[in-house]
Symmetry: C2
Subunit: 343 residues, 2 copies
DNA sequence: CAAAATAACCAAATCGATTTGGGCAAAGTA
DNA sequence: TACTTTGCCCAAATCGATTTGGTTATTTTG
């Protein structure tokens, strides 16, 4: 029956119990230096019986090692947080937290916040993962300014050219969605992206332009402020379909927009997919619980997040040679929103 | 153009810059001791200009406290993690992380792990949130044994009677689902719960028993090991429906099981909801992306998580008077799986 | 056999903060 | 005047680990 230790067990206690010096305890427990195997056993036994757990703060203070990373979202609250919180951010978080723990790192979540809160200087981290930062992202800027290692999930926008990143392959991804929609019978596809300057958007636009040129499609693109959330998607669909009644399909890159677009279609009496096909990029809760469920992409975020943590870990260790990683190609998640009844 | 500081700024650097001792810097920056207002300004200015950020490890080592809490899941990997990671756990995580940050606490995610990994002694936290711990939960036991403040989301199972908790109201929740199914035309409802000893299960069973007695329903309950995941739900449905062909509805408390049950129904040629109604407790990704989507409950996890963080915060502060909190009543999330076509 | 290498261990320095226990004027009090 | 209080400041101790730079014995080598 072990008493609850009111005073924490330190290395000195173990040393006393084992009858050796603190140095030897440290060496024995960490496999460093020269220690007689018999002594090592004695130390280990003492540590176990006393319930010794090294004080992480003392360890980190001495060794300078990293212990905490943060995962931050640069998307506005209305897209990344809000009613349906379980999006891209949290999916990455789930995997990244596991991978981080396996490396002895603790991952702190810094969820999207209402405008005007920085709170970054509140927490003291050794590195950070950021998701699809836009050009001139203030959070990213602050992290870099503090000299912290950062890995971006998705190539960072703007002039942050030397921030290491995991490529999300937005060009091929867009191509995949467009190809599918065309094969499924779409004739005129419109594109909706966010208004901020993110690599995924510009790559999508490029892929879309190339595709349109190749298929004799008149390119129709609309950019909408992400902060507008689902309502923004509603408005975007409305504007696009009024100005371009020939459109019979929409590729809406932001899932919150896509849900709004579906709502507009319903209100306008447009059947999905018969009158209007709809697809989005990220296959998350929003895409799946939309009515009808939306065709989207499995981005393999599990691999992506894993790679990002790996990369960040390397940089934390001082090995900054690798500046990029690539995940597997996205895979199509086929749903009703792009499947017209045959005939 | 600030250089990237290769060497971290310490309190000594600030002291030198401001022309005072380290003690005075500490006092000035932390509002302790007696410091001339003019000196304080000088110190603050020096700290700002040098970009000083106190070393968290040194601080914590000295002061003892840590400002980190953990969110842990006691569900097996197959239920809470796995292919569809975005469940109960991550939904709570999203909200709890925000609330924690607002209080200056960092929240670490300790996702469900493969069996045999503790990893708890790896991180040092000063409090934890646990989700629906079962009777004799080893993680909870370890936390308590270390004397750490713990708040449970959902009343803890077994004899952990004095662990403070946020009530998930599983009795009323079950009643709500059963009442709905009966009103929707179900005649004989079977119940599937997890085999572990969790309060939500026993409360569900109680509510079910009472309901059955009141409606002349023969109670049919099956307990399935949670580690079996979706396949377990498949097996449970098979067994239940073979032994009790009179059943025309199932309330499956674990969402992973429910998805498996839906799969079995499809294989057995049972139409949902015409031949078999299906409902589950937690309205998450699994319930929504099931075919057909499953009727479930909005548990108001946002409020629940908020309350849990509040409660834990109080206990961290030493105020242990409040030992329980209650969230709002769950709300029905109606889906096709319980809506028979009229006529 | 003397010199060099190795094994096993330890005392003290170190990491960067906070806290303890003063020191020294200037101001207040008997 | 002498004695206490107050204001402002600092040197050194402290937190609990790791690391540096040794000291002894014990082998190995020339």
């Amino acid at each position: 029956m072990a008493d609850i230790p009111s005073q924490r067990i330190t290395i000195s206690d173990v040393a006393r119990e084992a009858g050796v010096s603190r140095t030897t305890v440290s060496h024995a427990l960490n496999g460093r230096g020269q220690v007689d195997p018999a002594t090592r056993l004695k130390v280990e036994e003492a540590a176990r019986s006393l319930g010794y757990r090294p004080n992480r703060h003392a360890q980190r203070l001495r060794t300078g090692g990293a212990s905490m990373i943060a995962l931050m979202s640069s998307m506005p609250f209305t897209v990344s947080g809000g009613p349906s919180r379980l999006g891209f951010f949290m999916e990455v978080a789930a995997v990244a937290a596991s991978s981080a723990l396996e490396r002895g790192l603790v991952m702190a979540l810094v969820p999207p916040h209402r405008p005007g809160q920085t709170s970054l200087n509140l927490l003291d981290i050794d590195g950070a993962l950021v998701i699809e930062p836009q050009a001139g992202d203030p959070q990213l800027a602050e992290l870099l300014q503090q000299g912290l290692p950062v890995v971006s999930i998705g190539r960072p926008g703007g002039d942050n050219v030397n921030v290491p990143y995991v490529d999300l392959l937005s060009g091929p991804a867009t191509q995949m969605l467009l190809t599918h929609m065309l094969a499924a019978g779409a004739r005129q596809i419109g594109l909706v992206v966010g208004a901020s300057e993110r690599t995924s958007y510009s790559q999508a636009e490029q892929a879309y332009a190339a595709m349109a040129a190749g298929h004799g499609m008149q390119p129709v693109v609309l950019r909408m402020d992400e902060a507008e959330g689902e309502d923004g998607g509603h408005a975007a669909a409305q504007q696009l379909l009024c100005e371009h009644p020939e459109l019979d399909a929409l590729l809406v890159m932001v899932d919150a927009f896509a849900v709004g677009a579906a709502r507009y279609a319903q209100q306008a009496g447009l059947r999905i997919p018969e009158d209007l096909m709809l697809a989005t990029r990220y296959d998350g809760l929003r895409a799946r619980s939309c009515e009808p469920p939306l065709t989207a992409l499995d981005l393999h975020l599990e691999d992506i997040a894993q790679q990002a943590v790996d990369l960040l870990f390397e940089h934390l260790r001082g090995d900054t040679t690798r500046r990029m990683a690539t995940g597997p190609l996205p895979a199509l998640a086929l749903r009703r929103s792009t499947q017209r009844k045959p005939g």
